[in-house]
Amino acid sequence: MTSGDSENPSESTDDLDPLIADLLDGRHRALARTITKIENRSPGYRDLVSQLHAHTGDADVIGITGSPGAGKSTLVDKLAATYREAGLTVGVIAIDPASPFTGGAVLGDRIRMASNVGDMDVFFRSMSARGTLGGLSTATTDAVKALDAFGKDKVIVETVGAGQNEVDIVRTADTVVVLVPPGSGDDVQMLKAGILEIADLFVVNKADLDGADRTVSELREMLQLRDGEVEAGGHHGFAETTVDVGGGTGPEGGGVGSDGAAEGADAEGVEPWDPPIVETVADRGEGIDDLIAAMDDHRAYLVESGQLEAKARTRYADEIRTLLREDARELLAEEIEARGGLDERVDAVLRRETDPYTVAEAVLEPLADCVAGRRESRE
């Protein structure tokens, strides 16, 4: 642990974990087991994920979200089938809610994957939104890596569809599709704050139902309103600003062409992406081709504008921060444990002899000193 800066992970390919070797070899069982280890945070799972990293980066990651009953699973099923017809392989992660009391869950989306049963090249995996406190997004991101490294061309993440968790999907997906069922005018209003901003694409599913046209026009109206109100706002503004925090200035990011179109993520001149609205009737397979075409357009936009790379930068910066936070938390937990727990300090706080701020500072002080000392000795 104390051996200087060991920031270069295992470079040789020989000492791969056998499980990862099997996964890269195309063994489904190994892929399934790797995801389980990731979900369970089994001992050594971090090592597995870090071994995966070198083999990732080729899959298109698509996030699908929307309120319960909007038809996400059916749409995912049809998307997967269409991709398979085009000769592409697909990985799907479907997240379902878990009981906050028992931790139990019924993971039911698999039932709707009817078009793809018996086809192992659609790897469908159900995940429960276990702890939900940040854990979900880390586990999902890592599971996406496993599917990516396995060689899936398209990885689809389907979310619970019940709240703020959905916003996390942006951190994982290149393209975020938000499903809006017809007649949900009021819901759409409600969703404004979060979901509207994360969508790269809207799908009005069940477009054969009454009210679909109205929903489409309401959505369109809202998008125009947004464009008018906040310039360069929403999703894209989000991506740009966070990139700066994460990776410093990176002009090399978009330096593809010397002129015009590909000026990179930090260029002001990039045409903002206008989220299209696609109408589908997923259970009959209608509109799926339009949706795929729209997603391909978005992908092309990401590549041309340099946003794909910008997003990746943001994502990795976020991921590193999350891991650092987790590790720091654990380090602190150990330190607290080593000092005999918090009970006595809590007693002292109750007796008004000290206060939570003072306690926190005192516990953290040796760590802070240690870090500062190391930093000085490096300089």
Binding site: S42, G104, V106, L107, G118, S126, R130, E330
Partner: protein, 139 residues
């Protein structure tokens, strides 16, 4: 070093195979297992053995519970066991069968690799305790 505790959760696939169209019992069991804190994947009705195998492998379940009322267990269950073996999943998947199984057939199913058979009289607690005690240790 991180002293990670891990959060292992028992995962079960509740599967209906073949033409048998009654899944009320399977729903009840799925729910009871959920309430016991397990993660349950329900296959839906009318699955082929291949489909059950695909789900069991991809979902990496600890426990596969096959519910059969139709009497076709002697043909369907061995097919599932073979399929699991093909993917190297037979060793560490606890396979249970629930439903109406004549005594004579029980022996054959056990030989095929089924760990336990729960008939109509079995209690839910019995089943849950059995799973807790016998869910395979995973590598």
């Amino acid at each position: 070093m991180s002293a990670e505790q891990g959060q292992r959760q028992i995962r079960c696939l509740v599967a209906k195979v073949g033409l048998d169209g009654h899944d009320r019992g399977a729903h009840v069991i799925a729910r009871a297992l959920r309430d016991a804190g397990f993660e349950v994947i329900y296959s839906g009705l009318h699955r082929s053995p291949d489909e059950v195998v695909q789900a069991a492998v991809q979902e990496d379940v600890d426990v596969l519970g096959i519910s059969i009322l139709s009497g076709a267990h002697n043909t369907l269950v061995p097919k599932i066991m073979d399929g699991l073996a093909e993917y190297g999943a037979r060793e560490d998947t606890l396979v249970l069968v629930g439903g109406i199984i004549p005594d004579d057939d029980e022996e054959r199913l056990r030989e095929a690799g089924v760990a336990e058979i729960f008939g109509p009289g079995a209690s839910m607690d019995e089943m849950i305790d059995y799973i807790r005690a016998n869910a395979p240790e995973r590598r």
